[in-house]
Amino acid sequence: MEVTIPTENNGTSWKGGNEKPLGASYGKMMMWFFILSDALTFSGFLGAYGLMRFKFHDSWPIADEVFTHFPFLHGFHAPMYYVALMTFILIFSSVTMVLAVDAGHQMNKKKVTFYMLLTILGGAIFLGSQAWEWKNFINGTYGAVKLNDGKIIQFIDATGEQITLESFVKSLPSERTRHTENKGLWFVKEAKLPPFTLNEVVESFKSNPAISIRTELINPETKAKTIIPHSEAMGFLNEAKSVVMGANLRENEYGKTLFANFFFFITGFHGFHVLSGVIINIIIFFNVIIGTYERRGHYEMVEKVGLYWHFVDLVWVFVFTFFYLV
């Protein structure tokens, strides 16, 4: 029986010989299959998000009311502008990446270096933007009240616009301070107290008939949250449990805690991909500079890393749609 022994290996083919069944090198093909499996992971997460969203579709937070900040425009209601900017940054860094790949095909080291640098910068700016987005979400905008059963009550003025707690709550004299280790049991910790106590919020609400509340329930006709008139609001506020400021994994002033959980998890997982993409890009960037690929005779490594980078962009396109648009 004859045995085939590989005699030649040009470095881009399968190690077992020069057969390339799918016309791609081993590394590139495996990058594609890694991307496939990672795409399925993200679909699992976004699918779980979709399940919960359909389950609570009559009371899910409205993204336009959650993400309304834009740098240097304080107090200006700017839904989606910021996330649109982030999307452009990421698409543009994808463009510079594909230009680097293109320059690599022409063995143009200078251009590859330049475009890789732009790609890294784009990725870093995106990461910074996402951190800022998280900061705003965690700190919150308006403040709300949580009921005993976990529902969120927000405050609105006579025109139906949501108002901040600061705009109507008057502080009352109170002895309550944050519990820290040096004031009592050293093993008991307490999170930062909300800016107002529940009592202050309820008392201020009672004394101000112009303001009212709204519940999470969305009216299917107008797709807006249900407004409760001032006269009926005390029925809700008698059930109030605590004041909520901002969002974290346990509570969310904008509505369902699940929304915060999925937002942190999915954008966090995507952000982690961007971070690792930036780190890999930096490694490849230095390899380009020291001439590794020039000596190897081809820039296929830039292409493979490029695939990963475009995939990160691809995932963001879907995250953008499902968290901000739909």
Partner: protein, 117 residues
């Protein structure tokens, strides 16, 4: 892609794809901010027409990124199908079951949720 083509620059195509992706994103954001009542408050295929538009535009964007930025168009048919068909089939399968189940839970749970106090 033949060997000779490999060394020609595709810069023009890249900028064209960037222009297409930008226009789609701008349309999405504009629709998302204005939310025209005729598209947002009406129903079509179980959701609003606006949501359908967003989904279609997203898939168009995904197509351009995969085909032209990731050069899927230049891969052999076998590799392309192994990756794209697998993903498309499994994602549709998973999403369909999860979303049907989600709205079933809503049908059962929704009426039991207390909204008046």
């Amino acid at each position: 892609m033949t060997h000779a083509q490999e060394h020609t620059s595709h810069t023009k195509l890249i900028w064209k794809v960037f222009a297409i992706l930008s226009v789609i994103t701008i349309v999405e954001v504009a629709l998302g901010i204005t939310k025209p009542a005729a598209l947002y408050l009406t129903k079509f295929l179980g959701t609003s027409p606006l949501n359908i538009i967003f989904l279609v535009l997203t898939i168009v964007k995904a197509y351009y990124i995969t085909w032209f930025f990731m050069h899927m168009a230049d891969e052999k048919k076998g590799l392309r199908r192994a990756v794209v068909w697998t993903a498309v089939f499994l994602i549709i399968f998973l999403a369909t079951l999860l979303l049907i189940e989600g709205s079933y839970i809503n049908d059962i749970l929704g009426p039991l949720t207390k909204w008046n106090y």
